[in-house]
């Protein structure tokens, strides 16, 4: 009797603590959702509402008097499109360069019997611990003639050492027997890489493409340093002028029937949405690759 009562009592107490945890966990989950989404909802609501309501500050999280004039104005802005195009070019060309250089260096570094593997790897990892700093790099970019070209944000960042190590770790996991048998069939290392190793490495290639592409899409600092010419700059630098320095005139006086002061604030919100949209739309579909990338990196780290 006593025994049963005791365990009963215990069962009740346990479920009590279980419920508390469930409540706390739900609360944390909802809090995370709200905290993350509210700023975006506000930006969206601001960008699609009636400009006069926006300037009277009547918009919070839900749009009122839906109106896409701000977007129309952004779309008509020449400088915005020039800079947006530059970003697309930098993302495409830059990622190609990244992948090519990362893969061709990671493969030799994954061959355990390669006699230069250790010294070169030391040379590479040392750069993660010490760098010459900003100013010497600035001078190199000037001396190599990259200054004020779009290559200045591509070539100096052609390999991310962390990504290189992730890629090498992946290559090391490919069975040696596959490589050896291809070699016996008379294939040289270049052929082995491109026709045996790479087809087996689609997972890691996807991860690398995503990491590099997002980094290019979001990067602004190298462009601010190395590309003073406005029509070569990526869209992030354009955003700095519009959002942070307030120096770019997005709208001309009287355009679309509104006074400039009325719409200039709203344009900021529309520009944010237009630049965030590609990443935000693609991301949910690609999420699993991103997470995979973190995992592969974590095993090594």
């Amino acid at each position: 009797m006593i025994q049963i009562q005791k365990s009963n009592h215990h069962a009740i107490r346990r479920s009590g603590s279980d419920i508390t945890i469930d409540v706390v966990v739900w609360f944390i989950g909802l809090l995370a959702l709200v905290v993350t989404l509210v700023p975006f909802l506000h930006v969206i609501a601001m960008s699609v509402s009636d400009p006069s309501l926006v300037s009277r500050q009547e918009i919070y999280l839900w749009p009122k008097g839906v109106n896409f004039d701000a977007y129309r104005m952004v779309m008509q802005n020449k400088m915005f499109w020039t800079n947006y195009g530059n970003t697309l070019w930098i993302v495409c060309v830059g990622t190609l360069v990244n992948i090519f250089l990362t893969v061709t260096l990671a493969y030799p570094m994954s061959r355990t019997q390669f006699f230069l593997r250790r010294p070169i790897m030391k040379l590479i990892t040392f750069t993660m611990f010490f760098s010459g700093g900003l100013i010497p790099l600035f001078i190199i970019v000037n001396k190599t003639g990259l200054y004020n070209t779009r290559w200045a944000v591509i070539l100096p960042y052609a390999i991310n050492t962390y990504n290189l190590i992730v890629c090498r770790t992946f290559f090391e996991g490919i069975p040696d027997s596959l490589v050896e048998s291809a070699r016996l069939d008379g294939a040289n290392d270049i052929r082995v890489l491109f026709s045996i190793v790479l087809p087996l490495s689609k997972a890691i290639l996807a991860v690398l493409v995503l990491f590099y592409a997002v980094a290019h899409w979001n990067s602004y600092f190298p462009a601010m340093l190395f590309i003073p010419k406005t029509d070569l700059q990526p869209v992030q630098v354009y955003l700095i002028r519009v959002l942070i320095q307030d120096t770019e005139a997005l709208a001309e006086e009287g355009s679309a029937g509104y006074s400039r002061a009325l719409i200039v604030e709203q344009l900021k919100y529309a520009v944010i949405i237009v630049t965030v949209l590609p990443v935000a739309v693609l991301y949910p579909f690609l999420q699993k690759y991103f997470v995979q990338g973190v995992m592969i990196g974590a095993i090594k780290g």
């Binding site: 500050q57 260096l105 700093g133 010497p136 001078i139 979001n218 519009v242 942070i244």
Partner: protein
Amino acid sequence: MNNPLTARRPSVWRKCLQAKYLILLMLPGLIYYLVFHYAPMYGVLMAFKNYKGGTTIWNAPWVGLKWFQEFFESYYFGRLLSNTLIISLLNLVFSFPIPILFALALHEMRSRSFKRVVQTVSYLPHFISVVVIVGMLKAMLSPTDGVINNLIRASGGNAINFFGTADYFRPLYIGSDVWQSFGWNSIIYLAALTSADPALYEAARIDGANRWQQIVHVSIPCILPTIIILLIMQLGRTMSVGYEKIILMYEPATYEVADVISTYVYRRGILKGQFSFSTAVGLFNSVINLVLLVAVNALSRRVSDVSMW
């Protein structure tokens, strides 16, 4: 005839010849590291010279430790160092533990679909650029037409110039950092949690542990190694705070709390063109960074057998 010098040479050559395709493959990447990493290291010589452009770095006159002395004696030295350390410390106190708590909470979620939604949404800010984050902050906190000041005025307060007030800089910097990274940084802990042996939880349940006790006695010990490694790596990054965001956020009015070594190097070197002086300041930062990393790595090897090299 058979002296070691002539005997060794052909063997290295033969090795190279044997590995010629591997060498060919790694050549572009190697050139990249030499040009964009090792050549700048040579450029560090500027810190000991008076280089003003025009000539080569080698031909510029030596000045010894003049620039270092100037920096150490300047009013800025103490301010920059303490700002760098304070921002790093705040990161450690706020940005570091929150993803751990968040991962533990995610792990306890029973509804798989809710968990997936929370994960997907909370990872998203990681993919937004710092420019957009700071831009959103500036727009929403604007003293004239930002929504926050709008609410403050509606409730009878006076508008606050958030970005122009030194007291608000650090909360804004750290707060937006937590907002951007808490979800993404929880992935690694969540991975450690999901790979935990289910038998451990089973055993804990049989022993009568409730869920809270399971968290404390199974989940936390399970991610403790990960926490230690990441903590050590974080310590190694003490000197490299996120200056790309600070450059966008700070204003002359907030320099006293916001200016860190890297932003100072940027202003003096790039904007004012004082190459030698700012290279010296940057070198000071790099050297401390290197010392920290080596120390932290030794520590890591001792406590967890994990090291970065």
